[in-house]
Amino acid sequence: MFFGFLTFAQEIITDTIKATDLKDVVITATRTEKNIMKLPVPIIRITADDIKNRGIVRLNEILAEQTGLTIVSDHGQGIQMQGFDPQYTMIMIDGEPVIGRTSGTLELSRITMANIDKIEIVKGPTSSLYGSEAMAGVINIITVKPKDGFRASVATRYGTNNKADISLDASYKNEKISLSAFVNRNSSSGYSLIENSSSPTVVPFSGYTGNIKVGYQINKKSDLNLSVRYYNNLQKNDYVIDNRLVLGDGKESNLNINPTYNINFNAKVKSSLRLYYSRYATKSALNYQDDQTVYDDSYFTQNFSRAEFQTDYSLLNNLKLTGGIGAQYETVKATRYDQLESFNSGYGYFQADYTPLIKLNIIAGGRYDMHSVYKSQFSPKLAASYQLLNNLTFLTSVGKGYKAPDFRQLYLNFTNAVVGYSVFGYEDLAAKLLDLQNARQIQSILINPNSLQRLNAESSLSYNAGFRYAVTPKVKVSVNLFKNNIKNLISTVIIATKTNGQSVFSYLNIDRVSTQGVETDISYAPIKVFQISVGFQYLDAYNRDDVDRIKNGKVYMRDPNTNETKLVKLSDYGGLLNRSKYMANAAIAYNNAKDGVFASLRAIYRGKYGVSDLDGNGMVNMDSEYVKGYTLFNASVSKLLIKDRLRLQFSVDNVFDYKNINFISNLPGRLFYGGLTYSIK
């Protein structure tokens, strides 16, 4: 019996790391190692092989092909998940958040895929573990851990628009230490969607990513790791403003330093201390070419520091407790902010992972965030999975998500020199408005700033429910239904009108928005080398106040034939901007490891989505306010040679050259790529 107990105890640590199934373990959903079969929340896992076999080198390329995710262009290419805007999804590298957003969007092409091991995407509110920004979910990019011995590889890809991507990496590992160095260069000469236009749609750029990781195994129970990652990008800006050419360099850089210390006290308890420093800076100097006067000279510097300590305690063999505390300090200094602004915050999170019956797993947790500027937030979450049959597991979860008001919404001080409108963050709004009034620039005040309440965090209450079903060993189906009710959504509103006819904008917690829908993934592997997968999402994303107004007969539109006014019916309502009701993807992959041939064909369908309000009624309701739906096809083929050390790759993105030059700026048409990778094992 004693022996049996020992074996049991051993199983606690290696519980989910069954020797053969390391690949079935996910860490992002619970901040602990968890078997994917039992996981009670929806998750997508993408392996490095999936990415390499498709010839993909940047994050945006792989995310675009996932069910329920779509890339939206809004101050950069961001990710939309369960109908949420890019600012509501946290993007992490090895568990630490990537900073540097423009109007809430994190540019996905910043992150190279060349040194990653896998990507874990958790859908549904995950603020119970990660805090703000994790309202729609999180995307965690996990980099490769060095394997024993010395390895090195070089990977290249070159294609249309002179898009070049070159990576070099080397690693060494023995019992005590592990070292890895990685460098990547990514560049493009940009493109123009409109022929003979005076300035390109996407300007030329070149950038580098470097990542050095050092690991030291202090003893059997503890290890120390350090990761230093640096990214920089230079953009050659080229615009035409009022028929005058404006040129200049835009620079962007991001430095991440992440030391971690892990210790396994005993079979039941382990802890880790994680420190993280991140700095994001941009600088741009744009001048009119005709007289060299300044058009825009601005900088933005954001610093983020964090210390976090987490302990996992396996109280019982079926009950694992996790607790963590942390403190953050964040500053922003920029041309558009009056002074250095800073945030202090502290937090604590707790999670209980309980398996009362072999078939039932319950995870309950919550996180409490205290912040120097806005109200404290408590984000609880409860999730459960029930394995009805060996091949059928039901999952359900309910949780609260939140997103803090960002620097922009609190402190921005920006006036567009050319058009003349102003945008002020909430904190200084009253003072700025008074300044404008004293300068006689205000025509009328529409909302008295003194009547406004302090800007609060946006919050959501979300529900997810679904199942994972392995119908046959070859056919797997997963379905997830979701509903997110969001309140206090921060939107820009017009506070006052200026004497120059333009407006003064600020940010308010005004909107009540809901997103709901269902998504499904089906995969079929008829024979070992073939895999067919299909994914689909139906989404309803709407503003609850707009829906109420429609129901009360307060919204109008014009009949396109007579141009006379009529009431908008609920069936006319198009929902939130940039959301498609229907999205789908399909992929056929041929993976012949024996002969070293890999090929795939993927299709991505994006249904029509609303982009404008032409009739001034504040919502999407007319056919002309939508962008047409479209399907993109991507294909790639690769061959392994020389004992699998050399990989030759050829891929075509957007095979049928689909473009929508008026509305979609990130579709440059058909792209060809060729690449080769060589590894020294």
Partner: protein
């Protein structure tokens, strides 16, 4: 004797008939149901065409009372000049459907131009640079002689075109602007009834 009787009966009958007839007249005037106000639709009202460009230039004046275009020196109620709509009296905007808007407010009228009656798409949406009258807005006018009227702007372009077509979106084929199509109802009796 017989004839006197005939005459008397005739007279009495006549009187009776007259009495009846006048009674009928009374019942005719008892509850009077007022007919709805006539809705006038004005199509393609435009300022005088410039001799060289052939396009409207300047201001056009309209009298709602007379339902016709008038000169600036005559009694006018509403005028149009590019995107400026002015009134000789006072004006306010209300939300609603034109045909179901029945009572004008008695206060809240402001002297000056009609503000915020249109949206301009600029380059942010296709069709670019287009002027669209805001849906659901009714212009209420209190004229110089205190008569009320309701006006709905329908189109800013010649021929009241369908604005969702590709022909409209293309600036080269878009119909000319400053051609005003609108409908109005004018209450001549001075009450606020705009039914």
């Amino acid at each position: 004797m017989k004839s006197i009787r005939k005459i008397t009966i005739g007279l009495v009958l006549g009187l009776l008939i007259m009495a009846f007839a006048s009674c009928k007249k009374d019942s005719d005037t008892a509850p009077v149901v007022k007919a709805d106000l006539k809705v006038n639709k004005v199509n393609d009202l435009h300022p005088p065409l410039d001799a060289i460009s052939g396009l409207p230039k300047g201001t056009v004046y309209y009298s709602l009372a007379l339902n016709k275009e008038v000169k600036s020196t005559e009694a006018w109620d509403i005028s149009f000049s590019t995107t400026t709509i002015a009134t000789s009296g006072s004006v306010q905007l209300a939300d609603g459907i034109f045909s179901s808007y029945t009572t004008a407010p008695t206060s809240g009228y402001v002297v000056g131009n009609v503000a915020n009656w249109y949206t301009y798409t600029g380059t942010t949406s296709v069709p670019n640079h287009a002027i669209f009258p805001v849906s659901g807005k009714i212009i209420l006018i209190k004229t110089t002689d205190s008569k009320y009227a309701k006006v709905e702007m329908i189109s800013y372009y010649k021929g009241n075109p369908n604005t969702s077509t590709a022909a409209f979106a293309d600036l080269a084929t878009r119909p000319a602007s400053s051609y005003y199509t609108f409908q109005f109802a004018y209450q001549a009796d001075g009450t606020t009834n705009l039914k």
